[in-house]
């Protein structure tokens, strides 16, 4: 009995507008600062990017999934939405939000937990991390009427500590990358658990089959090209054979923008998606489950010890795409050092901006590892170079620091000289 577990990541950052050091000197607009609103024709313009992705990816893919969920009552998928993408749906593309709500309303769709701001806060500020997870949970409940039970961290960044944290906070499971050097002799196609926990289970991505869809689907030099639903189903069916001992749980964890953006419509990705569930279900031993259903129906096979952080990114599968160079290290350090000053201002705009600056994409744009993964890095990237990304980010962070200083000076003055009522 082979189980296919689909999980889709849905996220768009609030990209920063071009912000010069000279904008900081412009004190007139200090109270109406907007780092995220760019009306230009570039990829800095969040509204424009969102509407493009909605048209090319979210809306057509949601329609395809809705049809599939109706046609096949056994079909299941799961999503996690960053809080910032949900905000941008509401702001720029409400019809997208409605179509996701329609999907969730089928009862065949699970929504997972993550940080509201798609941040790396887990590694820098545990209180901030918890507050973002809570904020995210509240928004998901408000929009979908669901309280998430399974956690996935930004970019699937995972280590034992996160497994422990999820267990302590009552999560049924956590998602992680099924990376061979960590798994050693183990297969990703079983349900696992982190070492020393009570209830939390670990679902590991089958990166080979996931990336066949996400990255290689349109690669004409790949020996699997062209990928059809029949061919992909054959690969899944292999796991049903008795001689196969590599496990019968296939976790396909994929960026949702794969459909229509990373793989354009003319590659045939939508035809593939529309036919896959039906073809998979032709084999009586195949089924679909959400992560929670997997946890209820599959036995724990073993513990997996993952002391060092792994992610689903690049050939290194670590955090080096976000924290690998000195610019990234310096930016993230400055960002979290500003936390206490931000807190002290008690100003909701300053707080919101600081949180949005935590979105990991800002650090990703500063990545200088140019390798086979360069194409992935370039997608949706508004900057001409990682250096420009750093310059812009640090200008804005410096401006935010300046606002914190001004705000606290203002507060001090206010206490000293109370204004007459």
């Amino acid at each position: 009995m082979a189980t296919v577990c689909f999980y889709f990541q849905v996220h768009q950052p609030y990209r920063l507008r071009n912000f010069s050091i000279f904008d900081t000197c412009n004190n007139d607009s200090v109270n109406t600062r907007d780092y995220f609103n760019d009306a230009s024709d570039t990829a800095h313009n969040n509204q424009k990017v969102m509407q493009k992705v909605a048209r090319k990816s979210y809306l057509p893919t949601n329609q395809a999934l809705l049809d599939l969920l109706e046609t096949h009552p056994e079909f299941r998928v799961s999503f996690s939405f960053s809080g910032v993408v949900l905000e941008q749906f509401a702001e720029f593309a409400p019809e997208v939000l409605e179509s996701f709500q329609a999907l969730v309303a089928t009862g065949q769709v699970e929504v997972l937990s993550e940080t509201y701001h798609h941040s790396l806060a887990f590694f820098y500020d545990r209180d901030e991390f918890r507050s973002q997870v809570e904020e995210h949970g509240n928004l998901v409940y408000d929009l979908f009427g669901i309280t998430p039970r399974v956690f996935r961290n930004t970019e699937l960044a995972y280590n034992n500590e996160l497994g422990k944290w999820a267990d302590d906070h009552g999560y049924a499971g956590v998602l992680a990358e099924g990376w061979d050097p960590v798994l050693e002799w183990r297969s990703p196609n079983f349900l696992y658990q982190p070492p020393g926990v009570k209830n939390t289970r670990l679902l590991l991505k089958n990166y080979k089959l996931s990336d066949d869809i996400a990255f290689r689907f349109s690669d004409k030099k790949w020996k699997g090209w062209p990928l059809t639903a029949e061919k992909f189903t054959d690969w899944i069916n292999d796991h049903n054979a008795d001689r196969d001992t590599s496990g019968k749980l296939i976790n396909l964890f994929i960026d949702y923008e794969t459909f229509g953006e990373h793989q354009w419509e003319d590659t045939g990705i939508f035809d593939f998606l529309r036919s896959l569930p039906g073809v998979l279900l032709r084999h009586p031993d195949n089924n679909f489950m959400t992560p929670s259903e997997v946890i209820e129906n599959h036995d724990v096979h073993d513990e997996v010890d993952i002391p060092n952080t792994i992610t689903w990114a690049d050939s290194e599968r670590d955090l080096s795409a976000w924290l690998g160079n000195e610019m990234q290290q310096s930016a993230v350090k400055s960002l979290y050092e500003l936390g206490p000053a931000v807190e002290k201002t008690n100003d909701s705009n300053i707080m919101r901006d600081w949180k949005r600056l935590q979105t990991s994409d800002h650090l990703y744009y500063m990545c200088t590892k140019w390798s086979a993964d360069g194409d992935v890095h370039a997608y949706f990237n508004p900057y001409e170079s990682p250096y420009e990304a750093f310059v812009n980010y640090m200008n804005i962070l410096g401006d935010l620091r300046e606002r914190c200083t001004q705000e606290s000076t203002f507060q001090k003055q206010s206490t000293l000289e109370p204004v007459e009522a």
Partner: protein, 399 residues
């Protein structure tokens, strides 16, 4: 190969490029005869030089100011310099154009003696020589364009004679190699170059050694001050006036920065006046034309090298700066931006962005470190040997 100047007797990038190309072609096994208009004492082991002055075995060169006698001097300036006695013309013509033509007259005979498979000539100064050599031998001509009159003048006040020579060379050539795609497109657009017979051979770079810094710059650094370097001809093409404007903007927000504007050129006096008028004269040094080790000293003293050129066919100085581990900010209107990923870039006219980026490099050590380290690594992969491969392929295509 017909050139015009060769280090150490060079005034700028053309001589450096010819040296790099010549050495790499010899390394790649080409039998190279390098022709120069007059005899120099050139300490170069593996290249056979041919000099086009008639008494070449016995003639002793009197050193002349190479800033005047240079491929970048306009014809008008050359004539003026001759009339003021700054240049001794000897048996040559007393205009730059006459000198170019005289070079051309010798070239046919030289080419016949040399019996080449391919004739390779650099820039308009060698065009009459190249055409004569082609006529005398019937061998294919590769014209290599490092700079155009269009770049030198920013498109305004083009010298018709020079422009016509460039056009004639491009027409006569069997293949035209441009130093960048940026320049290739200028040639196609403004010179009617047939894209079919065009190619690109990017420049390379040779390694540099650590040098001791000049005292005045070392003192600034010891005080925690920052140094931004411009090195090149001080002419309209190189955009130094835009850098001055960017400097003014930068100094509004930080006063720890000093600007070194190294080089000479017809905008020198104007630039000194501009610095004074902008109220930043005490922050700007003009050390004049520098050569040899001093160039590396300047690169190594700087926290940032800026090349704000308005129209730069290639621009080898940013590669030299990176060889010296100095980060670079280059204008987008440059060929070198086609081969460098690890550089800051701005449009030459966008002085606010330039100031913004200069500030970031001086403010954030992490940015300085990454630009310096990655740029240095990148520039080590840009070599004249790659240039020689592109040129060799072009030879194969025309023979």
């Amino acid at each position: 190969m017909f050139g015009w100047e060769f280090p150490p007797h060079n005034s700028g990038g053309l001589g450096v490029a010819c040296q790099g190309i010549a050495r790499a072609l010899v390394r790649a096994g080409h039998d190279l005869h390098f022709v120069l208009p007059r005899s120099y004492n050139i300490p170069e082991q593996n290249i056979s030089f041919v000099f086009a002055d008639t008494e070449r075995e016995t003639f002793k060169i009197t050193p002349i100011s190479s800033t005047i006698y240079s491929p970048y001097t306009t014809s008008k300036e050359y004539t003026e310099a001759v009339s003021k006695g700054k240049i001794t013309t000897g048996p040559y013509g007393n205009t730059l154009m006459a000198e170019v033509m005289r070079y051309g007259q010798q070239a046919g005979a030289i080419a016949k003696e040399s019996d080449p498979d391919v004739i390779h000539a650099h820039d308009w100064l060698s065009v009459p020589a190249a055409i004569a050599a082609k006529r005398a031998t019937g061998k294919p001509l590769v014209l290599h364009i490092h700079a155009t009159e269009y770049d030198r003048t920013g498109g305004n006040g083009v010298n018709e004679e020079v422009y016509e020579l460039e056009r004639a060379g491009i027409k006569a050539a069997d293949k035209v190699l441009a130093v960048s795609d940026f320049t290739r497109q200028i040639l196609v657009k403004h010179y009617g170059l047939d894209p079919e017979k065009s190619g690109v051979a990017h420049n390379g770079i040779d390694s540099e050694r650590k040098e001791k810094l000049p005292k005045v710059l070392q003192d600034i650094r010891n005080r925690g001050g920052k140094i931004v370097l411009f090195l090149g001809r001080i002419t309209i093409q190189k955009g130094p006036d835009y850098l001055m404007e960017a400097a003014r903007r930068l100094l509004e927000i930080r006063d720890d920065t000093y600007f070194v504007i190294a080089g000479s050129g017809d905008m020198h006096d104007q630039l000194v006046e501009q610095a004074a008028a902008l109220g930043i004269a005490d922050k700007v040094f003009f050390p004049g034309f520098v050569r040899g080790k001093k160039i590396d000293q300047l690169y190594q003293s700087a926290d940032l090298f800026v090349m704000p050129s308005i129209s730069e066919p290639f621009g080898i100085t940013p590669l030299e700066a990176l060889m010296n581990e100095t980060p670079v900010l280059i204008s987008k209107q440059s060929g070198v931006s086609e081969v460098l990923d690890h550089a800051l870039t701005a449009d030459f006219w966008d002085t606010e962005k330039m100031a913004n980026q200069m500030n970031a490099v001086l403010e954030h050590p992490a940015l300085y470190t990454e630009l310096s380290r990655n740029g240095n690594r990148e520039v080590h992969n840009i070599s004249w040997d790659d240039t020689a491969v592109s040129i060799g392929n072009t030879y194969d295509a025309v023979v």
